[in-house]
Amino acid sequence: MQIIREPKIYDVCIVGSGAGGGMAAKVLTEAGAEVALLEAGAMWDTEKDSKMFAWPYDSPRRGAATPERPFGEFDGCIGGWDIDGEPYTNAPGTTFDWFRARMLGGRTNHWGRISLRFGPDDFKRRSIDGLGDDWPIAYNDLKPYYDKLDQLVGIFGSIENLPNEPDGIFLPPPKPRCYELLVKQACDRLAITCIPSRLSILTRPLNGRHACHYCGECGRGCKIHANFSSPSVLLPPALRTGRLRIITNAMAREVTTNENGLATGISYVNTQDKREYHVRARIVVLAASACESARLLLNSKSSRFPNGLANASGTVGRYLTDSTGLTVRGYIPKMSNGVPHNEDGVGGMHLYMPWWLDNKKLDFPRGYHVELGGGRRGIPSFPFMSHIERYNGVGGYGKTLKSDYRRFWGSVLSFSGRGEMVANDDCYCEIDPGVVDKYGIPVLRFHWKWSDYEIKQAKHMQDTFRGIIHELGGTPLEAMQSQDEFYGLLNGGRIIHEVGTTRMGDDPKTSVVNKNCQAHEAKNLFIADGGPFVSNADKNVTWTILALAMRTSEYIAQERNRLSI
C-alpha cells in the first residue's frame, strides 16, 4: 500500500499530546517552530465532552465502569489496561498491566493532579544506598523548571521546609475536610508527617483560568479548566501561535531515519482510514509514554539500527519501574452518623503524608507517600457500600438494613501507599516476537518481578495503615494479604507511573539519552515522557515529566537557534 507523504517538512514532529508532548508543543511553538503533534486517540474538548455535574441516575449504568472507561462511565479518560485491538503480552509467569489513554491530552486526563517535585535525594539514590543508579542531573538542574511550571500551571500547597519534599510556588491550599483533621490528629500521635496536599488545581484564578468550584470531580475533566490537563493548559497557547498542527487518530508505527542515522520523521497509521502516512520533520520528540516510546524505538529497525533506533546499548525497554501501590480501608465508628454537609472539596485529598522515615533504620531501601480518601466525599456511585456486614457486623435486610446504610455511609477511610521500587533486571519490555496489534504494529511483551525491597515496603504500608486505623478507633475492612500475595501489592502498571525505559545517562553504553533527553545515537531525536527517568521516586511522576519536558524543549530551541541540530 502506498504511503501518503505530506510535502511539508515540519521543524518538529512530536508523538503524544499528554504531559510531555503538550509541554514540548507549547515551548517549541512559542520559540518559533512549526510543529506537527501526533495523537493516537481522538479529539477531546472538555468544555463540551466532560460529564461534570452529571448524576449517577442520569445514566442507567449509574456511573459503573465500561470497557472504554475503567474508572467509571463519567470519567474523563478514554483508555484503560485493555484496549480493543491493541494487545500487549506478558512473559510466562509474569504480570504487568499497561494503562494507555487514547484521546487528546493522553493520561493528563487521568490522574489525581498530585504534583510532587522529586527531591534532592531522589536524583542520587545510588550514592545514598548503593542501589540503582544516580541521575546525570541534580535537583538544582530541574528546580528552575519546577518553579516555572508552578507559575505556568498552578499548584496549591504549603511551605514545609522538609528536606526531600521541596516546596514550590504555591497557591493557598484548601482547608482540610473534617475527617482529614481527625487523621492528622492520629498521625501526630503516631509521629507520621501529615501536611496539605500539593495538587495542580487552582484555588485562585491564574493566567486567565478560573479558580476551582469544588465539585470534587476533577477526574471527569474540568469544563472551566481549573485543573491541569494538557488540553486545558498547554495546547491552547501552542495553538494560538498558529504554528501547531494536531493530527489525531494517528498511531505511530516507527521513527524514520536517513543514511546519516538522523531521524527524518514519523510514519503512522490513520486509525480511521487505516492508511499509512508519513510526517517529515527536522527534529523528532517522542512523548508517547515511557513504554509506547520504547516500543516505537524498538520497532524502528533498519540495517543501520538492527536492534531498533537509539538502542545500541540494548537498554531501550529496560529499567522499567512503576510505583508500588496498595490500599487499606477502615471503618471508623466515630465517623458514622455524620453531620450532612458538602465534603467534596477539590478533586483529591486536602492532606497527605509524605515519606517520613529514614530507610537506614528499616529493612527496605525506599520510601512511600500516603494518599488519603473517604468520608462523604464524592457522589454516591456504583458500586455503593459493598459488603455491608463489614460495617454493621451482621448484614441483614429490611428497614434496619436501610437505616444502617444511612448511618455508616461516609464512615470509611482509605489509605493508599505509593512507593518507590528499585529498578531491577527482571522488569522490562521488549517486542513480542509473534504478536501485532490491529494496525499490524508489533506489540510489547512485558517481564515483571517484584524484589524483596518492594515486598517488605508493602508489609510496612500494611502495618502502618492498619496502625492509623486502629489509632482512630476503627477496624480495617479487609484482612491483610499474606506474604505470598505480596501483602496486597497491586500488579506492576496498576499505579500508572511507569518510567525508565529510555533512561538518561552520560554513558552511551548504559543509557538511551543524554542529560538533555537527546538520543546518544541520533542528535535530532529527543524523548519527553517518563522514559528518561533513571529512578522512580515515591512521587507521582507527572510534575517531573512536565519539568523535564520543558527543560528538554528549551534545550532543543536553543540548539536549533545555534544550528547545532
Binding site: F53, A64, C178, P380, V394, G395, Y397
Partner: protein
C-alpha cells in the same frame, strides 16, 4: 418426590403469558401469580409505559422486585427499591456486564428451590413470613448454615446490587443527604457541627 409441574411452570411462566401458564398451576398459585401480574401492570400504568426486561424472564423479574423491596423497603424517609427503579437498573446491568448473568439467574433459581423444598411454593407465592424465614437463613453472613452457603453468596451480591441501585437513584441520594456535586464560590471547610461531631477543629479557630 415433587411433581415436575412446578419446575415446568417456572419455565413456562418465564416464556408465555401468565394466563396460558395457569393451566398447570394450582388455584392458590394462580391467584398469587395473577395478583403479582396485576400489581406489575398497575405499576407499569402508573409509570406511563410498561417496563419490558431484556434479561430477566417475567418470573425472574417478579422475584427481583419482591426480593429488592424486602432488602430496601419503603420507610418514613424514602420509598422502596422498586420505587427507585432498582429492578430496571438490575436488568440493565445484566446486559451491560454479562459476566453477572449466570450467578444472577442461578441465584434466583436457588431461592425458588429453597422455597420449593420448604413450602412447596415459589418465592413470589410465599407469604411475607415465609419469605423472611428464607432470608433469615441467607442474610447474615456470620451465621449462615453451610447448607445455605450458595444462597448466602447470591444474597450478598444481590444486596450489594440493590444498594448500588437504590442509593445512586435520585431518591437514594436525597435520602443520604449528599449535598455536593454543585459549584461553590468558595471552599470554607466543614461546618462547626461536623467538626464537633469528630472532636476536631481548625488551627487558630
Amino acid at each position: 418426590m415433587k411433581p415436575i409441574s412446578r419446575r415446568k411452570a417456572l419455565q413456562i411462566f418465564g416464556s408465555v403469558p401468565a394466563a396460558a401458564a395457569a393451566i398447570v398451576w394450582t388455584s392458590t398459585e394462580t391467584e398469587a401469580a395473577q395478583a403479582q401480574a396485576q400489581a406489575a401492570r398497575r405499576q407499569a400504568v402508573e409509570r406511563g409505559s410498561p417496563f419490558k426486561p431484556k434479561f430477566f424472564t417475567r418470573h425472574e423479574y417478579a422475584t427481583v422486585v419482591v426480593l429488592a423491596d424486602l432488602i430496601i423497603p419503603r420507610d418514613e424517609r424514602s420509598g422502596s427499591a422498586s420505587d427507585a427503579g432498582v429492578p430496571e437498573f438490575m436488568d440493565f446491568m445484566m446486559i451491560d456486564e454479562p459476566v453477572r448473568q449466570t450467578a444472577m439467574r442461578g441465584g434466583l433459581a436457588f431461592i425458588d428451590h429453597l422455597c420449593d423444598a420448604r413450602f412447596d411454593k415459589l418465592f413470589i407465592e410465599c407469604t411475607d413470613a415465609e419469605r423472611r424465614q428464607v432470608l433469615d437463613d441467607l442474610a447474615y453472613p456470620g451465621k449462615v448454615d453451610p447448607a445455605f452457603a450458595h444462597g448466602a453468596v447470591f444474597f450478598g451480591s444481590f444486596r450489594d446490587l440493590t444498594a448500588s441501585g437504590f442509593w445512586t437513584s435520585k431518591m437514594g441520594i436525597e435520602d443520604l443527604q449528599y449535598l455536593g456535586n454543585r459549584p461553590l464560590a468558595e471552599w470554607k471547610g466543614c461546618p462547626s457541627e461536623a467538626l464537633e461531631h469528630l472532636g476536631v477543629k481548625y488551627e487558630g479557630e
